[in-house]
């Protein structure tokens, strides 16, 4: 509904999460998280394992709904009209989700149909595969591709319906450094050229360093948010890695002393 605060929204605001709370029984996975991402912004979501990154992604991809709070995507209330938001959302999951027995094109066509893109969607596939560097692999089965190339197929698939927001859920896990760099470059290019908003979850500090903004999540709460250099400066550290460890380490105020931050 039209809350007064919604009036202050910039037209470019792609993702707006307000005070999202999600508990699993006793465990509070998200304890009131707010996050805003504007068009063209590359936001890294940095947090140790168990920080609540996966839960946030589950909420943002519509798998679950938050216990409390609001989510809107491109100004549409995601909780009331999830299909409007889902149409503007591209997701690359941490788990591989390709049909391995199907060709690269086949996987993309299936996705195109799920989004009801018709002939237009199918026509976009060849150019998209060229863009992600998979020209010539159209008819190969996904099983025959390397891990890095499979991820590129998943990225191409996530971009096929021209989303305004791209969710990358630890998408580089298990990839070699070269594939990681390529994937990151591809996504950043889309940010620049097409105003795609990106939320890139990672627990790798060097990936977060390349983002426009970094959002540090720990134990279901925001610890810090800002440009990488701002976060480093605020923590009075030399590098983002140090700042991150200082914030999420066992000695930090955010963590309970008896628990180890893995």
């Amino acid at each position: 509904m039209a809350q007064p605060a919604t009036n202050s929204v910039t037209p470019n605001l792609t993702l707006d999460v307000r005070d999202a709370v999600k508990s699993y029984g006793e465990v509070k996975a998200l304890a009131g998280v707010s996050m805003r991402i504007e068009a063209g912004q590359f936001m890294a979501l940095l947090g140790p394992n168990g920080a609540g990154k996966s839960t946030l992604f589950q909420l943002l991809s519509g798998l679950f709904v938050p216990d409390a709070g609001a989510i809107s995507i491109c100004g549409e209330d995601f909780l009331k009209k999830p299909t409007l938001g889902l149409a503007k959302l591209g997701v690359v999951f941490q788990q591989p989700t390709l049909d391995l027995d199907l060709s690269v094109t086949g996987n993309l066509r299936f996705h195109s149909s799920l989004h009801g893109l018709g002939a237009e969607g199918r026509a976009r596939i060849p150019q998209l595969l060229i863009d992600v560097g998979l020209a010539g692999s159209e008819d190969k089965t996904c099983r025959s591709l390397s891990g890095g190339n499979r991820r590129k197929v998943e990225l191409a698939r996530a971009l096929l319906h021209k989303p305004r927001l791209l969710l990358m859920d630890e998408a580089t896990v298990g990839l070699d450094p070269a594939s990681r760099t390529t994937l990151m470059a591809l996504v950043k290019q889309r940010c620049r050229d097409e105003g795609l908003a990106v939320l890139w979850a990672t627990h790798l500090v060097n990936e977060a360093e390349q983002a426009d903004r970094v959002y540090v999540l720990h134990k279901g709460k925001k610890l810090a948010e800002g440009r990488p250099d701002e976060i480093v400066a605020a923590a009075a550290c030399a590098t983002l890695e140090e700042a991150f460890l200082k914030m999420t380490g066992p000695a930090s105020g955010a963590g309970k002393p008896e628990e180890k931050a893995a």
């Binding site: 699993y24 519509g62 199907l102 149909s113």
Partner: protein
């Protein structure tokens, strides 16, 4: 939700299930061999154990093979329905389910697509088995092939919806064997698939008779049995249709993001 979009997605999901099924040779084969074993071996042994007296919808004494054929068609739908739920659990564990659920379509509709796709597989297997029956000289009326279609469709939907419902509650693939034991076998044996229910009553198994006559599987089999002879069994239609609806709505409730699928994930 645009109709064109909805249809395109339904087509893609159905086509994907069909293609996967055709690729799994062993599944195709076992889908045919399982009822065939029953038809050839079991029916041969049972032929002389009991004759089937004249009961509706039959107009004369019939061979046991003729009696058991609709039951075996039901068995095909039952196994396939449960197998679809196995696939759902597998997809959920592998993350494929999440991809499907990010499609910009209502979740109940996506589940409906899955159900229709699975039922399509049931129908393909049923007709393949009818061909086998014809080859083995089982005396089923040809017109029954046509009349049985809506009955098999509804029965397939009902058992597929049961599979969907089970997939909500089966947490892991490993629990699947117990599903076989506690769902498939009781449903199959406590039904009119293998023997007419009056046989149970006659032999004094009163409670078994009672359980079997409320078993929705019995009604899906009877629906097909009557349809084979161009007759409509209204009770069977009502129970099969009603069960299909209840199972599907219950399953959709289980997959609702507000409630279902939540309990299993206690990860932070």
């Amino acid at each position: 939700m645009r109709a064109g979009h909805a249809l395109e997605a339904l087509g893609a999901i159905s086509f994907r299930e069909l293609r996967k099924f055709m690729q799994q040779r062993s599944r195709l084969l076992s889908a045919l061999v399982r009822p065939l074993l029953w038809l050839v071996v079991f029916a041969a042994g049972f032929r002389n154990v009991f004759g089937v007296a004249v009961i509706e919808p039959y107009s004369s004494f019939i061979e046991y093979q003729v009696y058991v054929a609709p039951g075996l068609l039901g068995m095909i739908c039952l196994f396939n329905g449960i197998q679809s739920s196995l696939a759902m659990v597998y997809d959920r564990e592998m993350g494929m389910m999440r991809l499907l659920l990010t499609a910009p379509l209502a979740r109940a509709y996506l589940l409906g697509c899955k159900l229709v796709a699975g039922t399509l597989l049931s129908l393909v297997q049923c007709y393949a088995f009818l061909i086998v029956c014809a080859l083995f000289g089982v005396d089923l009326p040809w017109s029954g092939w046509l009349y049985a279609f809506p009955a098999l469709l509804l029965g397939g939907l009902m058992l597929g919806a049961l599979g969907l419902l089970l997939s909500v509650y089966i947490k892991q693939i490993e629990n699947f064997a117990s599903t076989m034991n506690f769902v498939i076998f009781p449903m199959f044996f406590m039904s009119s698939a293998l023997y007419p229910l009056w046989k149970l009553k006659e032999s004094g198994a009163e409670w078994l008779y009672w359980v079997s006559s409320v078993n929705p599987f019995t009604h899906s089999v009877e629906l097909t049995r009557f349809a084979m002879y161009g007759q409509l069994n209204l009770t069977a239609l009502a129970v099969t249709g009603g069960s299909a609806l209840v199972f599907f709505v219950w399953a959709a409730y289980g997959y609702d993001p507000q409630r279902g699928m939540v309990k299993k994930r206690a990860q932070a």
